[in-house]
Every structure is written in C-alpha cells, then in structure tokens.
C-alpha cells in the first residue's frame, strides 16, 4: 500500500476515523472508515478527556473490526487531527523583500516565502496552516507568479490560520491516551473545501460552509485562493438544543425531530401533516404532538441567524459579492432538509451540497457531505505530507 494516511475528527456529535490512500491519478480512496457518537465534547471542544478517550478507543476498535472483516489486521498508530471550533482564527500576514536585481527571481521568491512564515503567535496559540494568497510587486497586486516581474518590493500575502494550543493539546492527550499518535492538526473547513471544490469554483469565488455539530467553519475563495476563513460557534447542536427547549423534549427526541421532521424553511411542504408526533421519552409517557410550523419556525430562526452572521462576516471583508460560484454546504448539518434553499435565499447566491469529488470509497454513505472534512484532510495529507506508516504494533497499543 502506498501513500497511506489516517485522520480522526473528534466532533461534537460523532468521532470519525478514516484511512485513505492516494491513487495513481492523484485522487484519494477511502479504504476504511468508522464513526461512533461522541461524548465529552461540546461546541467542537473537549470538555471531558476521559470520555473523549473512550470515544477514540471505540472508533479505533470499530475500524479495526472493519479491517479484520475485510481481511486485514492492521492496528492504527497515528492520524491527522481534523479540528474545528470557534477558537480557530485566521489573520492576514504579509511577507516582504526588496528586489535586488530589479526583476523578481527565485531568490526573492524564496526569501519572501520565508518572510511570510515569520509571524509570531502568543504562546497559547498554535499554527494550523499558512496559506499563500497572492503576490504584490510594488503597488500591483493579485499576482500568482511574480517570477521575472520588474519592481522594487515583492510581497506575499498569506492567511495564517491558528488555534488555541490548549484545545489542540486536549485532543492530543485524549488520542494519546487511546494509543493514537496525532501527527498534525488540520483545519476542518479548508479540508472540506479541498474535498468538494473544483479549481474553477475557487477562481470564480465560492464559499464553503462546513456545518458541524458544535460549530460552523467557513472558507471563502476568490481569485483562486483562500480569501477568508474562520469558525462561528454555532452548529447543528444549537438547532437540537433550540428544539429541546421549545418543545421540552430530551436532546435525543429533539435530534430525531430535527433529522426526521424539521425543515429549514417554514411551510415548504404544505402536504406534510400539520402535527408532528413526539414519542414519549419513556414507556410511561404518552406520545404527544407539536405543530410542524412551530418546529420549522424554531429551526428556521436558528439557521437564518447563523447565515446572517456568515453574511455579515463576509460583508465586513468585502467578499459577499465576489462569490460567483455560490455556496457549498458540507458537514452533518448540511443534511438538514431544505438548508440549501435557505442558505441560497439568505446569502443571495446559488447553493449546493458538497459531496467529496476527488475521493472514492464513500459510495455506500447515505450523506457523503458529512465526510467532506475528514476526506479532505486525507486528501491534503496525501498531497502535502510524506508517507509515514500508520500501522503500529500490537505491543504499542497495549503498553
């Protein structure tokens, strides 16, 4: 097996582990994946390391069971960590160098690259990624390849994505307690974009919204590069929480109402029954009904608010009118009925659900968009990281 990587996502609602390999045509094939419900995680952050460790152990056992069933007997030793959460920030930073010979050469390009990697972070922050955007030669911007251009100053604009070191370390601690070494943390929203976007969409301008359980990551591309990214601390769990409060249900009942009955739009299905059954939470409690319109109202209000926050964030960065390829929804939250129609209306742009397009092996999944981030992480790893054996010995696991 060549170029073989694993990634784990310790999400608010589920912990997912996947193994993939790069294929000859520069695609990724997910060879095995498993998921189990998460515990000890809220809003994409670990609140209970013991519970998170248990989740990781469980998903490791599940993937090993699947591997065994498939005739393999590997034990996973390391994985990339797919992270999200509102502690993740992105700041612009500019590398700069004087052009010595009046024309930009490879020396200047190397130097400006190194200069762009000199941003200092506080001790409690950790880099997730540094993304090159475009070059500037003197006052001329938007340059993708400055080699040979004349001028005095060469600049490289970058986006520096960083996270709270303690939150990342909590995930590392939980993983290592489960005998899983974490390689690098990778940002979920840009990973999802890696999996679902075509290059022409990035050129035309596109927004990826990765709607997870506890948070929503966004990645806006314009002129072929990442123009802005970040995380809003609102996700599908907020929808569930709102439903539970509005109708006094358990979280589990609210989750079922969200998945099975709710729509992001109010009254989008006039033929649907006007009342929705809420099964009793125990055999002693009778089934009751609630108004479908009220249910949809709760969901609609929450999602509209989320998209308003996104819209205002993009407006602040003068990006909203530059996203001509529309918005692409990924993550488990993208499974919400009619959410694509709602986001299209709220952001006044086209919308689609983002299935991983450069990835094979997810054909059996009910909703591949939920795997966009983790498959994007595998794709990113396969393109940018040296192969490292993901297999550990059985002895390592138990001692």
């Amino acid at each position: 097996m060549t170029d073989f990587h694993a990634a784990i996502e310790i999400g608010t609602t589920r912990t997912v582990l996947a193994i993939g390999e790069k294929t000859a045509d520069d695609r990724l094939r997910v060879t095995c994946h498993a998921e189990i419900p998460s515990t000890g995680v809220r809003k994409s952050q670990i609140l209970d390391i013991t519970q998170a460790t248990t989740s990781i152990r469980s998903v490791l056992h599940e993937i090993e069971r699947k591997q065994t069933e498939a005739g393999s007997s590997i034990m996973l030793g390391n994985a990339f960590l797919v992270v999200s959460g509102q502690h993740i920030k992105a700041d612009p930073f500019q590398g700069m160098v004087a052009i010595e010979g009046a024309k930009v050469g490879s020396d200047e390009i190397d130097t400006v690259y190194r200069s762009s990697r000199t941003m200092q972070l506080p001790k409690d922050r950790e880099f997730l990624d540094v993304v090159d955007q475009d070059y500037e030669v003197d006052a001329l911007g938007g340059i993708s390849s400055p080699n040979g251009m004349s001028g005095r100053i060469l600049k490289l604009n970058t986006l520096q994505i960083h996270a709270d070191r303690n939150r990342i370390n909590d995930a590392r601690t939980a993983a290592e307690s489960a005998k899983l070494e974490i390689r690098d943390p990778l940002f979920a929203a840009t990973c999802a974009a890696e999996a679902v976007l075509e290059s022409h969409e990035k050129r035309n301008g596109v927004l990826v919204l990765d709607i997870g359980g506890g948070s929503t990551g966004y990645a806006a591309y314009s002129d072929g590069h990442l123009a802005a990214t970040g995380v809003i601390g609102v996700g599908g769990d907020h929808v569930t929480n709102d439903i539970a409060h509005a109708f006094q249900t358990t979280n589990s009942q609210a989750e079922q109402l969200k998945i099975n009955e709710a729509s992001a739009l109010i009254g989008a299905s006039p033929s649907a029954p006007q009342r929705v059954k809420v099964p009793g939470s125990s055999p002693l409690i009778e089934t009751r009904t609630i108004s479908r319109r009220a249910l949809e109202t709760v969901v609609n209000a929450r999602l509209r608010e989320l998209f308003t926050v996104i819209r205002e964030t993009l407006e602040d960065q003068d990006l909203l009118n530059r996203l001509h390829s529309g918005v692409v929804l990924t993550g488990g939250g993208a499974a919400m009925r009619d959410i694509d129609a709602l986001v299209s209306r709220e952001l006044a742009m086209g919308a689609r659900i983002g299935r991983p397009i450069h990835v094979d092996g997810l054909d059996g999944e009910d909703f591949p968009a939920a795997y966009a981030a983790i498959s994007g992480a595998l794709l990113f790893a396969s393109r940018n990281y040296e192969e490292k054996s993901v297999i550990q010995s059985i002895l390592d696991r138990f001692f």
């Binding site: 509005a246 109708f247 009254g267 608010e305």
Partner: protein, 369 residues
C-alpha cells in the same frame, strides 16, 4: 405640519395608493406620504409625492396584473424611494393584493426599507371571493412572502370591508374608506399627543416582530359610548378573521377633552375580557384631540396572534433586534436562560448576544405549539 414625523405612509399600486390618499385626506397636514405605482397615471396629481417604478420595463402602463413583472419593475427602480426616506423610522404600507403591482412591488419595497433599517407595517386588502381562485391564489402566495419580509401585517379580505354595499362602486369606496379610516386612527394614535402616549419609537418597538394581526376601529358617541365601542369591537367582522389565540393587544382610545378615566377603564377591561385571555401583552394609548373627536370616542384595536410572525426575519444585532431575553409566551415555556447543554461551554457572542441561547427566545418569537 410635522415635517419631522418619523413615520412614512406608502401607498403601493392603485388600490394601495387610493387607501393612502384616503388617509391623507382624513388626517390632513402633517402626514408624510408617498405613492408608488407602475402606472404613470398615478402621477397626474401634482400635489403628491409619487414614484413611478419600472418605467423602462413597463413604460408606465402598469403591470397588467403580473406580480413578477411588478416585482422586476420594483427591483429596477425601487431605490427612487430613497429621496423620501430621510429620517423615516417606521413605514406604513397600504396595498391591495391579487393584482400585480400591489403584490410584486410591495414585497420589494419592504425588502428595500429593511435594507435601510426601516421596519414596515403592512395593511393589505385581499381579493373578493367572486374575483376567482386565480387572484386568491396570487394573493395568498404574496401574503406568505410579505408576512416573512414585513414586521407586522394586516390582511383584510375585501368581502369584510364592503358591508351591505349594493354596487361595486359603493363597495370599493366603502372598502377604501374603511381601511383609510382605520389607518388614519392608527396614525393619529402615534402622531397626536395624549396622556397615555404612544410615540413612533414605541410603536416601532411594539410592531417590530408583531407578525400577522387583525385590526378594527369603531367610533361611538353618547353616554355609553365606551361600552358601545367595546360591544361593537367584539362583533367586528375584521376581528373574526384570525386563526389563533391573541398574544398581544394594542388598543388606542381617541377622544376629545371629555374623555373620562372611567371610560378608559371600561374599554381596557372590556377589551381584555373579550380578546385578551391569553394575551401576554396589552398596550393602551390615548389621544386627546378636542378638535377632531369632540363628543365622540374612537377605539382602534390591533390584535396579534401567537402564530403570526413566528418565522422572525430579524438580523442578529440588527436595528430591530431586542437585546433583552424573555421567556416565550407559548404554553411550553422554558427556563430563563436557555443555554441548556452549552452551559459549560465557551459562549458564542455576536453583536453582544449570546448565540448559545435559543434564537426563538432571544427574538421573542411566539410558538403556537
């Protein structure tokens, strides 16, 4: 003349402009008013502010009953309204649904106003039953969108406005007059001083997310005028069109200097007893205008239902977004804070609001569960 009035009356389409003109006639000086139409013949009146929309697209000949054409026309040129919007804090729109301009242009106007941070209250008539299912369907489709876009809406079936009028002309005149007089009373309530004052800012706040409502206005005189007014309101056909329990009541009492405290009490108690058994909010205002109401008493009543504007369109932190948190008034109320499972998590704060608290709570959206 109150040039500094922060309310603007906008009549949209032929029917809406007719109602608005009726309000203007009844109210007199001091009413900020604008007519918006796709039909250039509406601009024949030199004394009224008028915005012709879709001039290039429709050549000033009207929309021909085509909602889409009217909407496109409004998209083209609704910004021509901007010159009339300076200082406006609340827009009251009168329109008539079922045709083209009233439905199509009203929606765009509401959105445009919203973009300027101006909330809108819509008084709209819906078609006569005999006008046929097509027009009814057109009106219903537009009503849903208007209801979502506007802050408060009052949809009034024309059938209920014409009473026992025998001819079409009489019926239409009566419909326009009835709507106009109700809106005029509403206007007086806000613009004229009273001991129980309701100014534009208060009304703006009250109507910010009021949703769909019903309204009626009656005028009585004589020694039992207060009791008679309550009695008339309890029988008013316009108040019998709702589908849900009343959650909020706005009651205005307009009279001359002879308005007695006992009468205010009678009206307040009577309205509460008749309509307010489930009402979470009751707002009473009075206007003392001896010149207009001498010897008479007028009561304008606005009722809002629990399932009115339940799909709130408020922006987080937007101009109409209340920062206070309040228990929902629905039967399944919840705890005062509502962070629920996010209690121990780092809060998500946006424009000063804690987004972990359910949106419907922060927006005071009533749920008819």
């Amino acid at each position: 003349m109150s040039d500094t009035s922060s309310m603007l009356l906008i009549g949209i389409g032929g029917g809406g402009s007719a109602i608005a003109r009726g309000v203007r006639r009844a109210f007199g000086e001091g009413l900020r008013y604008l007519a918006v139409d796709t039909d250039a013949s509406g601009s024949d009146r030199a004394d009224e502010p008028f915005v012709l929309i879709g001039g290039d697209r429709l050549s000033g000949r009207g929309s021909g009953g085509d909602v889409v054409a009217a909407r496109l026309a409004a998209e083209d040129s609704i910004s021509a309204m901007d010159q009339y919007l300076e200082g406006v804090r609340l827009a009251v729109i009168t329109t008539s649904l079922g045709g083209g301009t009233g439905g199509g242009a009203s929606l765009e106007a509401i959105k445009h106003l919203s973009e300027h941070g101006i909330p809108s209250v819509v008084f709209a008539t819906t078609p006569f039953t005999f006008e046929g299912e097509d027009r009814q369907r057109t009106a219903r489709g537009v009503m849903t969108m208007i209801e979502e876009a506007a802050n408060a809406t009052f949809f009034v079936p024309l059938d209920k406005l014409v009473g026992d009028a025998e001819t079409m002309e009489d019926g239409m005149r009566r419909a326009v007059d009835t709507m106009a007089s109700a809106v005029t009373l509403f206007w007086r309530l806000v613009e004229k001083p009273g001991y129980l004052r309701l100014d534009a800012e208060r009304i703006r706040h009250l109507l910010a997310k009021a949703g769909r409502g019903r309204f009626a206005a009656v005028t009585m005189q004589g020694p039992s005028r207060a009791a008679d007014a309550v009695d008339a309101l309890t029988r008013a056909p316009l108040l019998a069109t709702g589908s849900g329990p009343v959650r909020a009541i706005l009651c205005g009492v307009l009279a001359g200097d002879d308005l007695r405290l006992k009468e205010i009490g009678e009206i307040s108690d009577g309205i509460r007893a008749a309509f307010g058994s489930h009402a979470a909010s009751f707002e009473l205002a009075t206007v003392n205008d001896e010149e207009t109401f001498s010897g008479r008493i007028s009561v304008v009543l606005l009722l809002f239902e629990a399932n009115g504007k339940d799909g709130s369109e408020e922006k987080p932190g937007g101009v109409m977004s209340p920062k206070r948190r309040k228990k929902p008034s629905g039967p399944l109320g919840v705890g005062p804070q509502g962070r629920g499972r996010f209690n121990n998590a780092e809060p998500t704060i946006w424009n000063g609001e804690d987004l972990d608290i359910p949106t419907f709570l922060r927006r005071n959206i009533n749920l008819d569960v």
